[in-house]
Amino acid sequence: MSELPLSSATYDVDDPYAANELFQESGWTDGLPIVPPTPALVHRFLDAVGIEPAEIVGVEPVRRRRISGEKIAIAAVMAGCRPEYMRVVVALFRAVCAPEFGLHGCSASTGGSAPFAVVNGPVRREIGMNATHNALANGSRANASIGRTLRLLIINVLGGAPGRLDRSTLGHPGKFTFCVAEDEEDSPWPPLATDRGVPAGASAVTVLAAEPPHQVMNEWTRDPREILDTYAAAIRANMLTYSIWAGNYAVVIAKQQRDVIAAAGWGKRQIREYVFDAARVRRSDWRSVGKGAIAARRDEDKVYTALRSPDDLLIVAAGGPAGGFGAVVPPWYGAKSLAVTRTI
């Protein structure tokens, strides 16, 4: 085990219960209990990914905060990760530090987004990630603790505690953790990472600053257009009731609907193009949702698309085998934050 020195301040406590009490009282958690980050555990987590304590893993571009391997490992231990999750955690943190992700803005905004992480490749099975039943919620320690690690880092190394840097008006439950694996083995389409340029067989994580998932249901048709009309309607509702600006939307499509869409011979290109055409609103539509005051400020005949181009749509295959369900995961604020993919 590496014996390179750690630089964090230390505290002596009686036992794990007292450690948790210290972290809770100090505001260093999300409110859920933590695993105490001891020096031995932090060394073990760093060794698992071959990173030295002082190595800078990422720099938050706005406030130029330089985040070391040591702080990442501390957060991963606290969140309940196992050491082998560290390579996903590190890739995820590097992804959110990309300038186009806009980590500062989406962490601070009153809009209250959460990073939505999608993991692809062999690492999913190696660390036991869940991509099927209850895919967007509890079901796997790896999904839960990897997503939670990012939240603890935002709180502790970026200062993103609620009411401090985090000015979210409401936030949403995904701010505790929001991490899913894709069901590649049971999908008719190439994985998301492949769409985004990652070589086949490699593991990768894609992250989007996202609002909460909106579940949709349509199990009464064999026509892929009708299924996608349901998704487009949810996207249009989001454009009118939340934010009209175009950006990366994710759609999570569960197996039953995937099978129907694939049986009609539709691949991801057709899905993206159909949603691009269908998910658009007219500025005057704002009047139908109580936003007449803002509608009149510009040309009310102007048409807004949800996506800047069909490629803005992130298609994720995940969910349990039964039920005609899917979800729309909207962007925080148009293209102010863009999805980022990093190889693991």
Binding site: S8, W28, V157
Partner: protein, 91 residues
């Protein structure tokens, strides 16, 4: 047992407020607009008060391209000609 502090220590010097101007009479003020929807109108009002009640002579007004990212160096360079700067945060 011994546990590690999860927080990141601040790097570099702490920032402090610049000393206030002796008077606003005849001063040049920078107004940095954070690019939110109501900021320009708000600053119109601030500017008229500062001109009429406090005798501010000149304003340098610049708008950030994006409310979620820092002002570009070029914008800060232009604002540095001011005696003092107002940076409004919020909608």
């Amino acid at each position: 047992m011994r546990v590690l502090d999860p927080r990141l220590e601040a790097e570099g010097q702490d920032m402090t407020m610049a000393p206030p101007l002796e008077t606003l009479e005849g001063a040049t003020l920078g107004l940095l607009d954070n690019a939110k929807i109501g900021t320009a109108r708000f600053y119109d009002h601030v500017e008229s008060i500062l001109r009429s009640r406090y005798g501010v002579r000149e304003f340098i007004r610049r708008r950030k391209p994006d409310s979620s990212r820092p002002a570009p160096a070029e914008t800060l360079g232009e604002l540095s000609a001011a005696d003092a700067l107002v940076s409004a945060v919020g909608d």
